[in-house]
Amino acid sequence: MSLQEDDFPAAEKILADLDNVFRTDPELEDFFIIPVSGNQNKSPVVHADHSLGLESWCVQHLYCYVYGKLINHKTRKKREDPKVVARLLRGALLINPETAAFWNMMKQLIESERVGPEEDLRFSAVVLGFKPKCSEVFTHRKWVLRKMVAQADVQPMAVLKYLQAELRITQLAASKYPSNYNAWNHRKWVLEALAPKGGAEQKELLKQELKLSHCWTSNHVSDYSGLQYRQYVMQTVFSTFRHEDFLCRTEWLLELPSKVEAKCCSSCAAASVLEQELQMLSELIVRYEGHESLWYHRRFVLHSLQKVCVSAVCAKLGASLFNSVVGSERAFASSVCRESKLAHENGHASRHLNWIENVLRITAA
């Protein structure tokens, strides 16, 4: 179809309406394309309750118009003013955020200070509301955040604010799309790039993340990416926390009995945490049958426990403790095998048994 400008004169008006909504509502969160059958002589832009809607009749025409103009600008056939380009880009990216070329044009505008980085972050958060698993959006946010943090006069309070905003947004994105790898990966990047390095604040943050991922796992048992994130957090905790950081038990929210006294030393504390993790997993596996993700997380926990026991200096940890853990594992897996009614849950349990025999024991020896 032809991409001529005068085919759709309402395009400019619709783009102006969209821009207006962004300008007047700084707390805008969501964007939807509203499926409508007919169209009346009314603006297709709907704004209610911090949500932006665009009626579906205009989407195709609007996108063709915007695409044509942007490509002409990019290939220098017909240059536009930067403000116009920014408006066109926002329209194009709302409808089709997977176009890397347009995000790059937006980056150019931010570089030349035609568009403010904060304004752009607000915009891409709305786009995420529409397509929560779009990797281009996350990459673009990374670029903008890196740029903002690298500025010479950046305040630590501001960085903290960005951090909190990113954590909130990634959680929202993860809740809108099952097993949202891009969102969890971005969260991991945020922890590495924006978190305060070392000191009490980092430890506070890690404790908070651990608690959050525990709640998340209980509510989203099959979120593989969420579990992977929890694994990352646990690994970071074990590598950075010292003995005294583990002392206060309420942090872990797991008031479960464990074979090892956490107060002894940091390795013991780590082992204690892992044991409690196993118990939590057992509970979840029994309650929600048939989720492979929980079994795989069990494998991670066992591996970590093995590593801790092998490399620990403390007398209480050692082969005997580990063997007793493995014994109870076998018992649990066999019981699930016997009692579960689902065929594939049996499969999971028996594969777990196999894994213990063939993989774990071998690496232990």
Binding site: M1, L3, D6, P9, K42, Q60, Y67, R79
Partner: protein, 451 residues
């Protein structure tokens, strides 16, 4: 017998082999290397220069790469009197401006650096020093330009007549004071969106540049009544005044403007919400030459003011009455009766307008010949009946009907049947034409596979 050389030899077998080709090649190169080559022989340098004077920047640069002769002629200062670098925008940096300045020297009369955001003061200083005859300079959107540039212009460019420093947000009153000192020939000045400019700058400018005819100052909220009054007193020849969004202005300023500048033909007071009918009445009293009036957002204006205006300003051609929400059909009736030259009328958001007003408009003197643009968007009482009235406006080119909920597709179709060239702007989606049957393969852009 020796055969004379001019008689061609007959019957000799031509050797079409390699040596013949080589001979042709030698002959060709001789023609091109020779100064006697065809185009240079037939066209004297003056004519080539004249032809080059019509070319744009890109073509001139390409011609300059053809040969030494063309290089000299294409880069001759006479072809570079008017330069517009908008299409190059961010590629234009300081060094480009300086090279142009050196190359063109005193020949350069018009230069547009609109949108060239990388241009800085030092390059413009070089430029001002080299190009003393500059008459028109456009620095729209050159955000890095500061007062130092205007100081350079004031020192070196006394012939400057038109200056556009729209959106150069670093400019302050000092620039205007310097311009007032050095550039007395200034007739056109555009200082829109330079929000540091206050009344003292404008007053200084008015005192130094008495010949100002065009004064454009959109979005300068610090321009007060006093500034406008001084400007009006000192520059009575003003014809074009744009004070869009100078929101602190009141009726007093407009009164002084009307009383002193009798030649005003274009006046924009959009976004000045403190103005009342008094302004319109003083304009009616003094400025009969008014042909364009933009008062969008002046929501206190009523029918009474426009009645007075219409009765005296018969030359009115373009009016923008967007958001003057108190006006009713009465205003339209007065405009229809008195302003025969009306071409462009905007009544956006004038919520009290009905079909009756449009009916009067369509039977007025301006309708058949002159009316080309009519904006009725967000007027909720307009129905298809208005469109039926407008079929008699043969020159109507564009009509805006956004958010007029009572308009239907059928009404628009009827209008289009009578006025085939009209552009109707409404929120109705365009009907995609059926695919062309036969030869042309349908082409889809990759992005259209959405939803």
């Amino acid at each position: 017998m020796v055969k004379p050389w001019w008689i061609p030899s007959l019957g000799r077998k031509k050797d079409h082999g390699f040596s013949a080709m080589k001979q042709n090649y030698i002959q060709l190169t001789r023609v091109f290397l020779d100064e006697e080559a065809m185009i240079n022989k037939k066209l004297p340098k003056e004519l080539i220069l004249r032809i080059f004077s019509y070319l744009d920047v890109v073509s001139l640069c390409r011609c300059a790469q053809v040969s030494k002769l063309w290089n000299e002629l294409a880069l001759d200062g006479m072809n570079w009197q008017r330069i517009d670098l908008f299409d190059f925008q961010t590629d234009v940096e300081g060094i480009v401006v300086e090279n142009i300045a050196r190359r063109c020297g005193g020949f350069l009369k018009t230069l547009s650096l609109r949108g060239c955001q990388s241009v800085v003061d030092s390059s413009l200083r070089t430029f001002a020093q080299q190009c003393n005859n500059i008459e028109e300079l456009n620095l729209n959107d050159c955000k890095k330009v500061t007062d130092s540039t205007c100081q350079s212009l004031s020192k070196h460019c006394p012939k400057l007549q038109r200056l556009n420093i729209n959106s150069c947000s670093a400019i302050s009153d000092q620039s205007l004071k310097d311009l007032a000192d050095g550039c007395h020939q200034l007739t056109h000045i555009n200082i829109s969106w330079c929000d540091h400019i206050t009344e003292s700058g404008v007053e200084a400018l008015a005192r130094g540049c008495r010949k100002i005819k065009v004064f454009i100052a959109k979005g300068c909220p610090n321009i007060t009544d006093r500034a406008v009054m001084t400007l009006a007193h000192l520059c009575p020849n003003m014809e074009v005044i744009n004070l869009h969004s100078c929101s602190s202005l009141t009726d007093d300023a407009v009164q002084q403007l009307a009383e002193n500048c009798l030649n005003i033909r274009y006046l924009c007071l959009s976004g000045c919400p403190n103005l009342t009918d008094t302004s319109l009445m003083t304009l009616a009293q003094h400025c009969q030459a008014l042909s364009t009036l933009e008062v969008a957002g002046c929501s206190q204006f009523t029918d009474a003011g426009f009645q007075a205006l219409a009765r005296s300003c018969h030359l009115m051609e373009k009016m923008d009455l967007e958001e003057c929400s108190l006006i009713t059909d009465a205003t339209i009736i007065h405009l229809a009766m008195n302003c025969a030259r009306l071409e462009k009328l905007s009544l956006s958001h004038c919520e009290l307008i009905t079909d009756e007003g449009i009916r009067h408009l369509s039977t007025s003197q301006c309708a058949a010949e002159n009316l080309t643009v009519l904006e009725l968007d967000n007027c909720p009482f307009i129905t298809d009946a208005s469109l039926d009235h407008l079929i008699s406006c043969y020159n109507l080119q564009r009509i805006e009907l956004y958010d007029c909920q009572l308009i239907t597709r059928a009404g628009i179709r009827r209008l289009r049947n009578h006025l085939p060239n009209i552009k109707v702007h409404a929120y109705f989606a365009p009907v995609t034409p059926p695919p062309a049957s036969g030869a042309t393969r349908q082409r889809y852009c990759r992005c259209c596979v959405i939803l």
